[in-house]
Symmetry: D2
Subunit: 311 residues, 4 copies
């Protein structure tokens, strides 16, 4: 049979150990290595300009806002009045941009390990620039967990985890363990929430449910929702832990009302209707694809963490 193929160059990206995607590359805008990771900024055929870290697509022109709005707004809107927000990771700047839409926010701290990366994205990714301009943003170049542990207890209203994907054999796993969530719990204020992106809901169900289980082992209330993101070719999952209300407790009408009240403008994707639909759908899919997660502890990954430390 004849297959119509337009691209000649492709990214080969592994989604699971049995599943990969090949997507067309038109051009390479930037390629290099920072102290911490391999950075590619490429023009893709299907997703427009895209940022890849260590070969994994982080976000793309065609729908970076779908990812960033889905990560930020459910937690921000569920909190009664978020004033102090911490972003862990998020070097791309767009997570900060979404947080900055809230007039109530007084301080946005963003702690990212990779200062070189931030310079690169500011130069090459048009959508990364806006987020860095707001005077409420305080950018810290440091390792997230250490930084968080050095901050005062009960300080943050919302913590947004926009770090490297969780993987059991990666150092990034230290931002997804019980001990990390215990630390986050202490640093959150009374009604504080933490939200973390995690992994494709249906392709890595056990991993996603493990992040949820781990969150459950620390926070009184937890939630999980997944949003289909074209450039990630997946229903990407987000896990929430809360000392107060949860996003899923809000009706679509309430979401829309709060967005208005809090002066949130410029959204392209997120809305009350979206909020309600994705929570409902996530529950339906989890009912169908049943798996069991486990609590992630530092000690479970001791070997990974030790090896990473050695290098």
């Amino acid at each position: 049979m004849y297959v119509k193929i337009a691209a000649t160059k492709f990214v080969l990206e592994w989604i699971t150990e049995n599943l990969a995607s090949l997507y067309g590359v038109e051009d390479v805008v930037y390629t290099g290595k920072t102290k911490y990771q391999k950075v590619d900024i490429i023009k893709t055929s299907e997703f427009g300009l895209a940022l890849l870290l260590d070969g994994l697509l982080q976000s793309a022109e065609v729908d970076e806002f779908v990812y960033h709005e889905s990560l930020v707004h459910p937690a921000m809107i569920a909190h009664p009045n978020p004033k102090r927000v911490l972003i862990v990771g998020g070097g791309e700047g767009a997570t900060a941009r979404e947080v900055e839409r809230y007039k109530s926010v007084e301080e946005v701290q963003m702690v990212d390990l990779d200062g070189e990366l931030i310079e690169i994205v500011k130069k090459y990714l048009p959508w990364s620039q806006e987020g860095f301009k707001d005077p409420r943003l305080k950018l810290v170049i440091a390792e997230g967990r250490s930084y968080l542990s050095s901050q005062p207890d009960g300080y943050y209203d919302v913590i947004i985890m926009d770090a490297t994907d969780p993987a059991e054999d990666s150092l990034a796993i230290q931002l997804y363990t019980k001990e990390f969530y215990e630390l986050a719990y202490r640093k959150l204020s009374e009604n504080g929430l933490i939200v973390t992106h995690s992994a494709p809901l249906l392709m890595k169900t056990r991993l996603v449910l493990s992040v949820l289980e781990t969150m459950k082992s620390v926070f009184p209330k937890t939630g999980l929702y997944a949003v289909y993101i074209k450039s990630l070719e997946a229903m990407w999952s987000f896990v929430v832990g809360s000392k107060g209300p949860l996003p899923s407790e809000l009706s679509g009408e309430e979401v829309d009302r709060r967005l208005r009240e809090r002066g949130v403008k410029g959204l392209k994707f997120y809305s009350g209707a979206l909020h309600e639909a994705v929570h409902r759908l996530t529950d339906i899919y989890l009912g169908v694809f049943r798996e069991k997660g486990e609590v992630f502890t530092d000690s479970k990954f001791a070997k990974t963490l030790r090896e990473a430390a050695e290098e």
Copy 2:
């Protein structure tokens, strides 16, 4: 970097001309060719047992019901009282199985070109067997469009198109043109509906919207909904044309009520809640990823159809 890879054998499947998926194969259960197509029944790493026709995954053990329930029930439930149903394609048998859940149905005709395929799937796909056992099923081995044109006008309450995917360079396109939908319109009864699966909503938006535009050029009411299907790695789209009510006009509660009233049992995925959420989400995504379709006519594909006829 080290990538954990478990599978050694993969299917390479092209989703668009710039995008392909590589998914792990554990074993090959059956491989061969019928008069019409290449058939592979394989044990995949991620999706369980799967049927491939000409190298494209049709459905898989892990969620064939997600696809088949999503294809059948919205149209069946929107119709006031479906008695005579035609399935075009559907050789796998599972579409018939879903239709047969309705007590009101008196006659299910299934017309598929490939009699050999039906024998193969009955032997190897556990989920294909149930559908073939119901005495209301009338199986016809014939080309769908010719068969439909030979049937009495106004005969069918619901026509379900479960044929080869639409592609502008494939002969199957003749089941997605204005002329075909005009034929279907004539063959449908007063409140009749036709539903067709089409393509991934966000990866082939223009194609999906063209199927919708084509449907609109014939039917007074049309609809579009998309459901994420893990084994297809996509939000797969379904397009509806109706002479009477549309699925989208029904609330979730009404869907659930009708499912009960009509004695529909054994569903694993479809429900009122699902119905409402997917319709809402589809609208949201279409609002974000705006494209324009075009009306597909026989003459547009004259060359394709002529060449296919020559071979």
Copy 3:
């Protein structure tokens, strides 16, 4: 298992209909389309800078000389005294460079369809520049077969075919048919030779032997030799037709003697020892992997050629 993977971007290149290569891309130096073909100049991980036409690697920094020396010298050295040489294709310039090493050569005509391509390679491929500087070179932008038919009979001593690879479904096939070789025969002088590169000896044995059979149907003497070329990941084949002597008739010593006598300097790969070894190895492999070719005629490809003409 863990697989060490360094590249994130790859070319996916099809070698046969069942075999493809994925090779790492570091950067894209140029990408665009001329009137005739898609052009990519990329920095590959394994082969250095490389030129791709319509997604197929033509030659690469690491061993372009292996290809070009292997194409040019056996025929040039077998001819008693080559003065007038025609290159069909060869837009990259390096084939001309090899021909120009011969002091005896008075005129090098190079006919390539794609003038835009020539401008691109001169700009981006360091190894393409030298060949264009020699005053004996006459560059003609035209279709090769038409051009050749407009030239005087008995004019050329050597014709070197450096055109698009032969493929039964490509328009380029018209440069590999009996009718084309009959034309070349007429245009060659008394001891004239034609050489054409063709395809991977062991991956497309039948195709290579068909080019040889076709050559045999026209020329009194014919030969075939294959040289392993790293960047083509194959033993690439070259087919010769001669009105006089053949390369295979020369011993390694004779080859070295003639290279000296003819003032050929600057070779990096080709030598008498190489000449002898590749001829011997080719015969051994053909003895092991026996297949049968067929004579290619214009009429066999009439449909391909007509369709190409229509587009």
Copy 4:
């Protein structure tokens, strides 16, 4: 553009960290795991029936004899009178078959770790059976290095290494270190030779030259030759160490004479002509693609070996 693709299932095999091959799979004959490795016996589109261990093709129907004859005969023919031969690895049986062609051979010991694998290949690979039938064969299921160290010094005339490919991050590397070759040196008789296959000459030149350097650090005479093997899509390298004569010292005529004298029959590929041509070509390519190897020692791989031991 349209690409003609016939296969739907492929093996994805990594050749280097920047280069992979995708080759068509028709059917899976056997798939499973032994205590030591993943075993796949598949019907490939291009190479016929093939054996894969841990996802790497070992040999295939279409040219297993090319590999096995190239591995065995140069060393066997270079030795003045080989009587006692040790094969390390070689579970496929075809290496033994080649050794058994020599009438002078009195004893063939074959030591392979994986007894389960031997049972599998005997059942499914037609070409593996013959080698196991000869009464001179003594099969030992054990780890090769330990086994060799338990044997008497000066015992073997030829040692043939047909083990897992060398890779710096694999446990198999312990069969390619200086310490291993010192052990082999002690166990070889006066004119004894050891030969090992290694890796693709041009794709992993540094690795191949490191095996050679390592051999040089122990043996007074060493050699390297490479043979293009279709199913391995490479010029596969073989490294020899000798206490007496080397294969490269023999002319083609001498090779043919010895093959006759020693009653070697049934060869399909190897001959004096092949012998001479491949040695000459290998030297030419090494002259062109110059790299530097290093001596591999146990201590260099101490971490790899320790980690492997821990698992």
